[in-house]
Symmetry: C2
Subunit: 161 residues, 2 copies
DNA sequence: TCGTATATTCAGTATATATTGAACTGTAAG
DNA sequence: CTTACAGTTCAATATATACTGAATATACGA
């Protein structure tokens, strides 16, 4: 290892915390993601996370569950081991894409609801919302295609690994 | 207008507030965006926004500036009029795409920094971060393509309008 | 140049939410 | 069955940030 003592790693992990923060997710969720990205071994117990990240086990529990719900992290119970272990999911990025597509869908639906609300009485007034809906509909379709391309690519790479 | 009294509109506007909220942006910024999406005329003064949205002019000022910064809203000073007017930008969606691409770039850079930090001493350990970087690099490239397609599409539509 | 309307800034407050310690639940070993 | 530990839940706290009212700055018209 060239220059990655624990101090540096934790500082780096903190940056993932900030990144999640700007995304509207708890900072600690980002710290967990960050740590699980660099730790050795890749599987860590809740206790490990409590100790290295210096946060309460309550917060670890909550944020692990959040990350599980987002499809970014999974439980990996080692046979014979008392506690559970956690690690990044191999298909985490598909989940991230799905999250994003979901957000886009919500925006499209919201725009459509506005169009319906304005009704047909005042033609032209809904033009702005139609533009919004069209944009998100476009984005939604294209991101689905992107996700499919990513899946294909991952499939090819797995054969190589 | 079929069924869009002010009450219903404001409730709808509020939903944009929630939407922005989940995006990590101030709720009031979402309310302004929402109102500017449905109001008549499309240009509104800060005073208009204060009255209809029932928030302080300080908050309107702050959030208008935020939306300007994001490239979603623009000033439209009417000739001869004292106050400025605000409206949605026609190219707001390009800005939204740029924002998103920017976020993706940050993630890619952050992953790369982690790879550099781990160094070459422990081959295989950086595999997770490499996967992260590769995903975001993929997404970054593809979203640039998407943005270009959107621009082309908008260009064609403008000729029709 | 002065006066007035409009817009911004800022310190203080309110609000929302992430985090914590402690209590509780479930589970597996002894 | 009992004990010990992992994990969750919950009420209380800490923290961050959005919002407000008041003061200040800016620009425009008389």
């Amino acid at each position: 290892m060239v220059s990655s003592d624990l101090q540096e790693l934790l500082h780096y992990v903190e940056e993932w915390g900030f990144f999640f923060d700007r995304w509207g997710l708890p900072r600690t969720a980002g710290r967990v993601w960050g740590w699980l990205s660099v730790c050795e071994p890749p599987e860590q117990s809740a206790q490990d996370l409590v100790e290295v990240l210096q946060v309460s086990k309550a917060s670890i529990s909550t944020n692990i569950r959040l990350l599980e719900g987002l499809g970014l992290v999974e439980r990996a119970s080692k046979p014979g081991a008392r506690q559970g272990y956690y690690r990044l999911r191999a298909d985490a990025f598909e989940s991230i894409m799905r999250q994003r597509i979901g957000g886009v869908t919500q925006a499209r639906v919201l725009a459509q609801r506005g169009i319906d609300l304005l009704g047909s009485g005042d033609p032209g007034r809904a033009k702005r919302l139609e533009a919004t809906r069209d944009f998100y509909a476009f984005l939604e379709r294209e991101m689905e295609v992107l996700l499919e391309h990513w899946r294909e690519r991952r499939g090819r790479e797995e054969l190589v690994d």
